[in-house]
């Protein structure tokens, strides 16, 4: 072995001249390694990278979704709150309107009652007056008739007689009244 080396030491070998065997082996070895790395290693690492990116992105997406949901809930709550306020407002207004309506109704009723009472009073007064007129007319009639018969029955010659008659009439009237 050392023999060859010593032999070789005599002449200088140009290091830039390639060896056929090494060229072949280099090409085969490189191709082999390339095929192995391409088929077995690169896809696996890429898978890991993709999974990692996915995991990070998935987490971010989840967080985003949660935030969105929270926001939506907030909006919903606010909406509900304002709706409730509105409802309270309408209720209050309704109550007020109803109250004033009741008052109005009561007033109308009271007025009507008053009117009715007044009308009844008017009617009874009218009736009484009518009754009084009727009875007065009857009495006046009888009195007139009585007076006329008395006048016709006795001759009214003088003042004295006349006054006596009137006095007597009035006395009679009085008497009849007290009867």
């Amino acid at each position: 072995m050392s023999n060859t080396v010593i032999l070789a030491a005599g002449e200088k070998i140009n290091p830039l001249v390639p060896h056929t065997a090494e060229l072949i082996v280099g090409a085969i070895a490189f191709t082999l390694l390339f095929l192995v790395l391409r088929s077995r290693v690169v896809p696996m690492f890429e898978k890991a990278f993709a999974a990692r990116t996915e995991a990070i992105q998935g987490g971010m997406e989840r967080a985003e979704k949660a935030q969105l949901e929270a926001q939506r809930a907030l909006v919903q709550y606010n909406e509900q709150l304002s709706k409730a306020r509105e409802e309270a407002q309408t209720l209050r207004e309704e109550a007020r309107a109803q109250g004033s309506a009741i008052v109005e109704e009561l007033r109308a009723k009271a007025q009507e009652e008053a009117a009715r009472i007044t009308a009844a009073a008017h009617a009874s007064i009218e009736a009484e007056r009518q009754q009084a007129v009727t009875s007065l007319r009857n009495e006046v009639g009888t009195l007139a008739v009585e007076l006329a018969s008395k006048i016709v029955g006795e001759a009214l010659e003088d003042q004295a007689r006349q006054s006596r008659i009137v006095d007597r009439f009035l006395d009679d009237l009085e008497n009849s009244k007290s009867k």
Partner: protein, 262 residues
């Protein structure tokens, strides 16, 4: 083995390491497929495959330390080299660039791994093979993307250049694309590994030789070893850097071929 070379050559004093030290004889008879570099290349394929298959097997969302180690290297090539350089079409080239980077890195680092201690890429054949693949890939990509005519027209007649300048630029551009790029790519890697290994040989074999000399030389020997160790760390940096540069340039060439105008 190298020390045995030395011992046999000792009679004539110190023989400085030369390019001949990279010509390792076949281990089994005369079969040229059984040299150390060839075994190392296959070893690198096995090591890289096993390491990445095991670390990527689970592909868990929360990685184990082992998976994280493999993943970091993959992510470095994928994101910092492929994606940042090539752009949106980068995913097609990730397996190729990933293989390129891990293959070169492992074979470079073999240069300082105890007992292996031989950077495979200091054998020029391997950088040649890799440069040829880069060459084929980026021209293929360019032709696929822009059509052969347009692709070569843009290489030869760069748009936005005065007509007269084509006399100078066209041959230069052609030379760059067809010859200089693959050649510099492979020679840069080869020369770095070759020179680095030679440097280590000089200091470590030199230190060993000094140890066999007279007492004064024996005392100097530790310094040689110390520098050898420092250079080993330096080599580690160079080995990583060269793997990175090779892959980066491959990505740049691909990006250039994909771009509509260079």
């Amino acid at each position: 083995m190298r020390s045995s070379v030395f011992l046999s050559a000792e009679g004539e004093g110190f023989v400085p390491p030369s390019s001949n030290d990279f010509e390792l004889p076949p281990i089994f008879g005369d079969n040229p497929f059984t040299t150390k570099p060839i075994f190392l290349v296959f070893l690198s394929v096995i090591l890289v495959s096993v390491f990445f298959i095991l670390s990527s097997r689970k592909a868990a969302i929360v990685p184990s330390k082992f998976q994280f180690a493999g993943e970091s290297i993959y992510a470095f090539v994928r994101n910092d080299l492929a994606r940042d350089v090539i752009g949106h079409e980068f995913m097609r080239f990730v397996p190729y660039l990933f293989t390129l980077f891990t293959f070169i890195l492992t074979n470079n680092i073999f240069g300082i791994v105890p007992f292996l201690q031989f950077p495979t890429m200091s054998r020029v054949s391997f950088p040649y093979v890799l440069a040829i693949t880069v060459y084929l890939v980026f021209h293929y990509v360019g032709i696929r993307k822009q059509g052969a005519w347009k692709y070569f027209k843009e290489i030869m007649f760069m748009p936005g250049v005065p007509k007269a300048a084509y006399i100078l630029i066209t041959p230069l551009e052609l030379l760059t694309f067809l010859l200089v790029r693959p050649l510099t790519l492979s020679l840069r890697l080869f020369a770095n590994m070759f020179a680095g290994h030679l440097l280590l040989l000089v200091f470590i074999l030199g230190g060993e030789h000094l140890l066999q000399g007279v007492i004064g030389l024996k005392l100097i020997s530790p310094f040689a070893f110390f520098i050898g160790i420092v250079l080993t760390f330096f080599e580690f940096m160079v080995q990583c850097l060269q793997a990175y540069i090779f892959t980066l340039l491959a990505a740049l060439y691909i990006a250039g071929a994909l771009a509509d105008e260079h």
